[in-house]
Amino acid sequence: MNKEVLVIGGGPAGIECANSLISLGYKVFIVEKCSEPGGHLRKWDRLFPYGVSASDTLDKLLQKSGKAIFFYDTEVQTINQVDEKFVITLSDDTQLHVSSIVVATGFTLFPAAKKEEYGYGIYNGVITNADLEDGFKTHKKELFKANRVGFVHCVGSRDEKVCNRHCSKVCCVTAVKQACEYKDLNPDAEVYCFYMDLRMFGRGYEDLYLKAQNKYGIRFIRGRVSEVAEDVNGCLVVKAEDTLTSRPLKVTLDLLVLMSGMSKNDDNDKIADMLGIKTEEDGFLSLPEPTLNNCQTVTDGVFLAGSVTGPKTLPETLNEARAAALSVHKYLSR
């Protein structure tokens, strides 16, 4: 057994897993398909619920990963198991011989244009949570001039029409966070959140929701947006039902933010195939013991970390990454 481990995916899960493995004395290769590490975290501005800077968080994670060997713009081409070792060929023809593999390939942000009725890519005033986050990060002043703003929860989540029956679980609190941040930048804005349920499950989330109501006066409307149209002035006419009064409702807005959920990574089937593991109906990778062990797979020496097995918050992802590193250690010390 050599002490070499391959981590597929250079997002927060992959980086933190590598950090833990390095501190346990392993040599770690990280294969990342983009040209930089950090995954979705790199594109974010601030993190819920406390508003911590995303780039500071990423920097802190990367500080400890100095000894990891990164392969950027690279994907895993083939994986062959020879005895108890894995022989890996990368897209740049590099060959690696490792004793264990951690899959940390994360999720794909739901492509909001698929929900055509919301008008993303059709109306200028319709953007996604990722676009708004980019606006916060790059100080796009134009974006914060809208005086009537709406947030649509569950875009590409809890929706069988787009093959995503699951709840992405982080969008509720992300919407509330972004709504508050928007009000900070434009205190005159009227802000509406269209939700089905508000799933404020984590510590500090409910406090943020209360603050959104109490301090920022954000109006929460229970009902899924059915359609968006543009009026003659270029404003957005948004229709939903206010299910609390059982009446159809209409409001004219200048900016509509779609809370795109977490979909399965598009590469999951390919990766699962190479490793002899399965995906579930929702497309995320399968866990044989989902309650007792959320890193383990049916293939010895292959472990999972982060949102490759379903939507997760960043702290959950990081914990899983550390757990996966320990699982590797346990496996290789047996």
């Binding site: 509406y192 508000l198 929701y209 209360l210 109501q213 109490n214 006066g217 109006r219 929460f220 229970r222 206010d242 609390l244 009064t245 009446r247 159809p248 409702l249 209409k250 409001v251 004219t252």
Partner: protein, 109 residues
């Protein structure tokens, strides 16, 4: 014109573009707790008057948010201000003060 016996019924749709925001702001100032409602319905569930009459604070709040002032007022008309809703409210809203101020702000002619 020939009368066919058809007529247009008024729209039941809530139009948030047309609500009286000045009155709402006045109400928020008098009872800031208004905004904290999360529509759990425990006020309406516990309401003594609600079992026999059409009283529902939860719905009244929703109606005010939607600018349906008259509907909200009629839902609070038979409130006896017993205060059970104040005891039960998980957000700690001063519901009695809220009801009094809804009547004050929206009841004025």
């Amino acid at each position: 014109m020939k009368e066919f016996g058809y007529s247009l019924s008024p729209s039941s749709r809530v139009d948030l573009d047309k609500i009286d925001k000045i009155k709402q702001e006045r109400l928020f100032a008098l009872e800031p707790g208004f905004r904290k409602c999360m529509a759990c319905g425990s006020c309406s569930a516990t309401c003594s008057a609600g079992n026999f009459t059409d009283v529902s604070l939860r719905r009244a709040i929703a109606y005010i948010q939607n600018g349906q002032d008259l509907a909200a007022l009629s839902l609070l008309k038979h409130c006896m201000l017993c205060g059970k809703c104040l005891v039960i409210c998980p957000r700690g809203i001063n519901t009695r003060n809220l009801i009094m101020n809804v009547l004050k702000v929206y009841g004025e002619k």
